[in-house]
Amino acid sequence: MIGSAAIHWEGRVGLDSELAQLRRGDLDALSALLARYQNRLYRYLLRLVRDPSEAEDLFQQTWVRVAEKIRQFDTKRNFEAWLFTVARNIAFDHLRRIRPESLDEPIAGAPGESAATRLPSSERPVLDGIVERERTSRLAQALELLPVTHREVLTLRFEEEMKLEEIAEVIDIPLSTVKTRLRRALDRMRQTLEAHYPGEVWQ
């Protein structure tokens, strides 16, 4: 407990110093920030748009926007929430422009290969066994079938491990709405799994 708190504190101090350096114009700090958040940010964007090439493009746009706006960032705010808000705005603008229907409806049909599971085999985490791997793959596929607002809240809570207050800040909705959305998303996730993989232990 004390160890994890110490690591968190060190991370926080490191982040603050990188932000201060970047605001002073130090480009090494930009590289450090990018290295710190690249995987999480890419995962979030991929969960939103589901297409790796679109996620890669949005990933680049997000960092360009960060470079543009970093001096306007209020250091009293949570940087992580700010960064994900920047990414979210870019991703939703993109979805509104390219696939406006995707903002309301889940994609139809049975789950196929998911972007979340299209990982280089060498980079896949070692799972306990075939069953576990299969289960993970089905979860990723079911996640892709959910509406974007549900995918978003699930990834922010369970993958990014953000607090509810941080999620509310990123999505810009009240805390009570975050809870409602989270519950609906979990319900929908379970219904999707039960519909596509009946008889499995999802319940």
Binding site: G25, L27, L30, S31, L34, Q38, N39, R40, Y42, R43, L46, P52, A55, E56, F59, Q60, T62, W63, V64, V66, A67, E68, I70, R71, A115, A116, T117, R118, L119, E123, R124, P125, L127, R135, T136, L139, A140, L143, L154, R157, F158, E159, E161, L164, V178, K179, L182, R183, L186, D187, M189, R190, L193, V201, W202, Q203
Partner: protein, 157 residues
């Protein structure tokens, strides 16, 4: 809605750590005595654990490198724009100072400083006002032209 149904509604949020401590305690107390809710809670835990263990997709190194290069370029451009703004403000202040300073100098050369105190609208005043207006309009037009050109260059880049 009885207590059992109320608690069932909270089970999913419990595994998402989205309940207040009081609600969490209520759920745990109920789950200890209700086999149905206990089993339901286990299944939600299984789902939540699965979501937490989803593999993290990683961006290709080439994309990360591209993002870094584009962001650095944008950052440098922003710094340059800031510098340009500072220079522009400095130049404008200098131009105003020069304009104001040139009035007494011109009056001194053309007929003495005391002439400036003459409130009547005479040729010297009119000439000077026209001269100042032309200079400032030329400067303004040049600034607009440069800014449009810069914007066009940025769009093409």
């Amino acid at each position: 809605m009885n207590d059992h149904e109320k608690i069932r509604e909270l089970l999913a949020l419990s595994v998402a750590d989205a309940l207040t401590p009081a609600e969490e305690e209520q759920v745990m107390n109920h789950a200890r005595s209700c086999a149905e809710c206990s089993s339901e809670l286990d299944s939600w835990r299984l789902l939540a654990a699965g979501l937490r263990r989803l593999p993290t997709p990683q961006p290709r190194p080439l994309i990360v490198e591209r993002a870094r290069a584009r962001a650095e370029l944008r950052f440098a451009e922003e710094a340059e724009h800031r510098w340009h703004r500072i220079v522009m403000v400095g130049v404008i202040l200098f131009a105003w100072a020069l304009t104001l300073a040139s009035w007494p100098v011109v009056r001194l050369v053309s007929g003495g400083l005391l002439g400036m105190l003459d409130p009547r609208l005479n040729h010297a005043w009119l000439g000077f006002a026209v001269f100042t207006t032309i200079i400032w309009m030329t400067g303004g037009a040049a600034a607009v032209f440069l800014s449009l050109q810069q914007r066009r260059e940025r769009r093409l880049a």
